[in-house]
C-alpha cells in the first residue's frame, strides 16, 4: 500500500533522462581582411633575463602565462627569466584586443617572431664573443650559448648583455584573411577551431527542473600551450553555456533591463555544473605559434545546443527559444 502511494506520488519515474550533442566551429580573429596586427618586442636585459613587451591584456584567460611560455620555448630560457610587460600602453606595443580568441594565435606569433629575432641577434653577438665563424653550430640553452660540438665554449646571456646592452627583437604578425565579395565569398577567418560536446540531462517532468548529469567536451586545440589553462577554459565555457541554455536573459521590457542585478540575473553556481570529461585533440596548425589555435570562445559554442538536444531526447519537446527555464518546460509538457 505504502509502496503504491509512493509510486503514485512519483519520485524517479517522473524524471526523464536524455543525451544530446553539439558540434561547432569558430573562425579566429577580426577577420574579413581587416588589418589584424599584433606587435611584440623582446629585449635582452642586463642580468641576462629577457623582457617581452606586448600589449596583450590578461583578462583571466591566461595570456600572460601563454606569452611567457612561448618566449621561454623560443629562447630556451627558464620561465623565471622572462619578464613580461603588458600593462602599460607607454611601454608595451599594440597587440590588438584580448578578444576573438586571437591572443594566443596572433600575439603568440608576434612574441615568437620577436624572440626568434632576438635570438638571432644574440647568436650573432655570441658568434663574435666565442670567436666562431658561423652561428650555425651554436646552441641556445638555459640562458647560455655554446658550440654544439664543443660545449665548454660557452657564454651566458648575462655576459652577452654586458658586452652588448642593445640586443632586441621585434615581432609583427598579421593574420591572413580576405575581404569577402558581394556574395559573401572569400576566406574571412583563419584558423578555424572545432569543438564537440555531449551532455546527459535529467528533466523533472513535474517541476521542469533540468539537471546536467555529466558532460564531455572535445576540443581541437592545434596544440595546447598549457593544458591546464585549456581545461580551465573548457570548464568556464561549459558553465557559461549552461547559463545560456537554461538561465540567462537580461529581461527586456520597453528598453529596460529587468534583470540588472545578481539576484535576478541568474548564472550557474557550483551546484549546477557537473564534472566534465575533456579531450584535447592536437593537430598543430601550421601558421600558429607551435601549432596553438585560439580556444577561448570555441569551448562555449557547442554547449547550449548539446543541452537543448539532450532535453529533446529526454522529454520529446523542442525548444526554439532560450533560456529553457522550468517554466517553459512545464508549460510545454502541459500544453493543450
Amino acid at each position: 500500500m505504502y509502496r503504491r502511494i509512493k509510486k503514485v506520488l512519483g519520485g524517479d519515474i517522473l524524471k526523464k533522462r536524455g543525451k544530446g550533442i553539439g558540434v561547432t566551429f569558430y573562425g579566429t580573429g577580426y577577420g574579413n581582411g581587416f588589418p589584424d596586427v599584433s606587435r611584440a618586442y623582446a629585449r635582452l636585459l642586463e642580468d641576462g633575463k629577457v623582457e617581452i613587451l606586448v600589449g596583450a591584456t590578461e583578462v583571466g584567460q591566461g595570456a600572460k602565462t601563454v606569452m611567457v611560455q612561448i618566449a621561454s620555448e623560443t629562447l630556451n630560457i627558464p620561465i623565471e627569466d622572462v619578464i613580461l610587460v603588458n600593462e602599460d600602453t607607454s611601454k608595451a606595443p599594440d597587440a590588438g584586443t584580448a578578444a576573438a580568441s586571437r591572443q594566443t594565435y596572433n600575439s603568440g606569433n608576434a612574441v615568437k617572431i620577436a624572440c626568434e629575432n632576438l635570438k638571432d641577434n644574440i647568436l650573432q653577438e655570441a658568434k663574435k664573443i666565442l670567436n666562431v665563424n658561423s652561428k650555425i653550430g651554436l646552441v641556445c640553452e638555459k640562458g647560455s650559448v655554446y658550440v654544439k660540438t664543443y660545449p665548454s665554449k660557452k657564454v651566458s646571456f648575462k655576459e652577452i648583455a654586458n658586452i652588448n646592452n642593445n640586443l632586441k627583437g621585434e615581432g609583427v604578425f598579421i593574420a591572413h584573411t580576405t575581404q569577402m565579395d558581394e556574395n559573401g565569398q572569400g576566406a574571412p577567418y583563419w584558423p578555424y577551431t572545432f569543438a564537440a560536446c555531449a551532455v546527459e540531462v535529467e528533466v523533472d517532468t513535474e517541476t521542469g527542473e533540468v539537471t546536467i548529469l555529466r558532460a564531455k567536451l572535445v576540443l581541437d586545440v592545434g596544440k595546447a600551450v598549457n593544458p591546464t589553462l585549456v581545461e580551465g577554459q573548457i570548464d568556464g565555457g561549459f558553465a557559461m553555456g549552461v547559463g545560456y541554455a537554461l538561465m540567462e536573459d537580461v529581461g527586456l521590457k520597453d528598453g529596460k533591463m529587468l534583470n540588472s542585478s545578481f539576484e535576478k540575473y541568474i548564472i550557474p553556481t557550483s551546484l549546477d555544473i557537473p564534472n566534465i570529461e575533456k579531450v584535447l585533440i592536437e593537430y598543430p596548425e601550421d601558421t600558429a605559434p607551435y601549432g596553438a589555435k585560439g580556444i577561448g570562445e570555441p569551448v562555449l559554442l557547442p554547449v547550449a545546443p548539446a543541452i537543448l538536444n539532450a532535453i529533446y531526447d529526454a522529454i520529446g519537446v523542442r525548444f526554439y527559444e532560450i533560456p529553457v527555464t522550468c517554466e517553459k518546460i512545464l508549460l510545454q509538457l502541459n500544453k493543450g
Binding site: 577577420g31 574579413n32 591584456t57 589553462l229
Partner: protein, 409 residues
Amino acid sequence: MFEFIGKNIKRIDAKDKVEGKAIYPQDIYIEGMLYGFTVRSKFPHAFIKVDVSEAEKVDGVVKVFTYKDVPGKNHHGVVLKDHEVFISKKVKRIGDPIAFVVAKSKEIAEYAASLVKVEYDILPAVFDPEEAMRENSPKVHDKDNVFYHFKIRKGDVEKAFKECDVIVENVYKVPMVDHAFLQPEAGVSYIDEDGKIVVIASTQYPHFDQEEIAQALGVSKDLVKVLTPAVGGAFGGREDITLQIHLAIAAFTLKRPVKAVYSREESFIAHSKRHAMKMYYKTGATKDGKLLALEAKIIGDSGAYASWSMNVLRKAAVHATGPYVVENVKIDSFAVYTNNPFTGAMRGFGATQVPIAYEQQMDILARKLGLSPIEIRLKNCFKEGSETATGQILEKVALEKCIEELKRF
C-alpha cells in the same frame, strides 16, 4: 619535443591573486582623490535638457561634467563613432550617460547626481528589431535602423530545395545576455609627473582606449597612458568604453586624481550585451542525410549603438551553416538599431547564437531521416579540403576526430 609548450606551467599571475594582492582598479586609493558618479538616462528615447546647477551647489561637489565639457570630440565607438561621451541632445537607450558628477566622496557624488535635473521630451521608441526594420518605425539615429546587411550566396538554393527529400524550417530566438564578469567596472585617472593623462582601467584593449581617450580630450595619443592592472573577467564586455573617457576628462580638467566604481547594477546598464537574434532557418537534405541547401535570415538586435554589430552579424552569417558542407547557401544577416541596451562583443561573437539554430536543425533532420545525431554530422562535417559556405578551402581539419570521440560518451 618542447621544453615549455604543452607543459602545465603555473599561472604567473596566480600567486598575487590567491593572496589578495592582485590590484584591480577599485583597489587603488590615492591621497586627495575625487569620486565620480554617472547620471544616466531613465528613458529609452527622448530629447533632453540638462540643468546641473543644483547639483553643483552641493557642498563637496567639485564639478559636474556634461557634453559641454568634453575638450575634444564628444564621441567614441569601436567601429562607428556613434556613442556620445555625454549625450548632447537625444538619449537613445536607458542608461545613456548624461553627466558625470565629481565630488570629494562617493556619497556626495551620488547624492548630487540625484539633483541633476534632466528634462525628457519623450519620443516614440522601437524595441523589436523586425519592427525597427519597417520604413515607418521610429528612427534611432535619424537614418535607416538597418545599418548592416550581409549576404552569402552560393549555388542555387531554390533549385536545391526542390531536390531535397527532407526540409526542416524553424524560427529560433535567443535573448540578450550579459557577460556578468565578477569585477564591476572601475577606474582611476590622474596626471603623472611627466604631464601624461593616466587612465587605470580594466579593459580588453588598452591601445584602442588610449586612442579614444585622446580623441575625446583633443590631445595627441602620446599624452595618454592606459594602465591595465588585474582585470576581473571580460568576455567581450570590456571592448567598448564605459568610464575611461569620463575619468580622463575629469582628471584632465581638474588636475586631480578621480576614481569611479560601478555598482553591479550600473555595470549591467553600462556595458554591451550579447546580441539577441531571431534566426529563420530552412535546411534541406537528401534521404541519405546529405545536406543540400540552407537558407537563413538572421536579425540581430544592435540596440542603441553599433558597437561590433557589423562584425558580429558577419560572423554569425559565416558560421550559420555550422561546420558542415552545404553546396547551396543563401544567408542574410542584418544589424538593426533599436532603443534597447546596446549589444556588442560577447564570447563567441555571433558564432554563439547560430548553433542554437543549426545544431537543433541537424538533430531534427537526423530524426526525420532515421539517422543518429552522430551519423548525420559525420556525413556532412568539414574534412580536409572541404569548402565552406564562403568558398574557403579548409586544411588541417580535426573535426571528424572530435565527433568520433563523442561515440564514447
